[in-house]
Amino acid sequence: MSPVSAIWVAMRRDLVIAARRRSEILTVLFFFVVVVSLFPLGIGPEAALLRRIAPGVLWVAALLATMLGLPRMFTADHADGTLEQMILSPQPFAFLITGKILAHWLLCGAPLVLLAPLLGLQFDLDGPTLGVLVLALLLGTPLLSLIGAIGAALTLGLRGGGVLLALLVLPLFIPTLIFGAGAVEAYAAGLDAGGHLSLLGAMLVMALFFAPWVTTAALRISIE
């Protein structure tokens, strides 16, 4: 089996499982929408202020929504022994984990990217700014899934794992938040967003290389 098909098989499996339990994914999406909608209610409906805070609010909500979906990345597979079978399988464990991380992004990250322009409209963002927002989220949300997978693997099966996971991964999400929200803000201020997007892309490439490998090391420790 080639690396690509190993990744594909692991990814398709998680997608099929998720398709049979749709409510879990919809809950994450609904959380994202509700959190974003709370801010205008708390701060007030002035369009200028909302335009100003929109990138930050959307990004922080995306961070929290991604984090909410992280515990389910490995918990069920750990409980029924699938993870052990994956370690024992002839396919490299890191490829299978890459597939699982991709599935997590498709389920918890990509829908946020698609929903973001709609929510951005509520914050009175104009068309080109929404485009930059989507582009930044497209580069940033997979990065969140990759970094988050390390935290999910380290906290697998621990008491109070969910809160601990937040404490571990949220500080590591900060660079993504800064450059992601920064790209949109820079564009809205009439500056070039290219620098921010390039840095997001660079971090994504680095995480794509290292994160699955670190995640497998963490999983082996958690399972042994």
């Binding site: 390390i150 794992g161 500080p171 900060i174 920064g182 670190v214």
Partner: protein, 246 residues
């Protein structure tokens, strides 16, 4: 096997390291006190009053060394974590675990003294300056490391999981620092920058170095003391510990 690796392997065992740490610890503790007294004498009495900042600047004799130590200890922690993971030694992981509370304390001390300095100088307890923000995030990383180790019951799993987190953290520290720095320049937040502080008098630098060395000795003494407790706790079933305690 060279002499160095021989010594290294000899003291990699908790049973041989425990008495060595016990002998070294009082010396480092005494050194910390002496250097702190010298540093405070230079800092509080010898060093001249600052022309712009008055007497209030003297808190930097604690603030700057504390910030240095908080960053340095994280690197040392990551170093021992890497050794622990690659050589599978118990003592290295215990060292990392023993260093974390001291590092977190210095990060907190640095933030606290920074706030005390900032209020009279900047007129604000807190500004979103790049250094302040990354120091705060460093404190979060320390707390995450300690929380993860505390949440895992099996000490070997706690060691390894903590080691991975420390290594992931140390890769991220420069990324976090530069991202916060660029974020700060984009926002032009703090109007006062620590970078533009006037050039320092020699006595001030001397005071700061003495205090930094004192904190260094303190960190060594504290982590040796703590690692001895961890060794006793972890190895309590072994014969040598029961002999040592009896």
């Amino acid at each position: 096997m060279s002499k160095f690796t021989e010594v290294f392997y000899h003291y990699a065992s908790p049973s041989t390291f425990y008495p060595l740490a016990g002998k070294a610890q009082p010396w480092f503790a005494a050194l910390a006190v002496l250097l702190a007294l010298a540093g405070m004498w230079v800092g509080l009495i010898v060093a001249p009053t600052d022309a712009q900042q008055g007497e209030g600047y003297r808190i930097i004799f604690v603030h700057v060394p504390a910030s240095w130590m908080s960053m340095f200890i994280y690197c040392v922690m990551a170093f021992w974590s890497a050794i622990g993971l690659s050589f599978n030694t118990r003592l290295a992981a215990m060292m990392a675990q023993a260093l974390a509370p001291t590092g977190a304390m210095f990060a907190f001390l640095s933030l606290l003294t920074g706030a005390w300095w900032g209020k009279p100088m900047w007129g604000a307890w807190w500004v979103w300056d790049a250094r302040l923000t990354s120091e705060l995030i460093l404190l979060f990383l320390y707390l995450g490391f300690m929380a993860l180790q505390a949440a895992i019951d099996d000490p070997r799993r706690a060691d390894k999981a903590g080691a991975i987190l420390a290594l992931v953290g140390v890769v991220n520290v420069p990324i976090i620092y530069f991202s916060v720095k660029w974020w700060n320049t984009l926002h032009q937040g703090a109007s006062v920058s620590i970078n533009k502080s006037p050039s320092m008098a020699h006595t001030m630098l001397l005071g700061m170095l003495l205090m930094a060395l004192s904190f260094w000795a303190y960190s060594i003494a504290m982590s040796l003391w703590r690692v001895r407790s961890i060794v006793l706790e972890r190895e309590s079933q072994t014969e040598w510990v029961q002999d040592a305690v009896a």
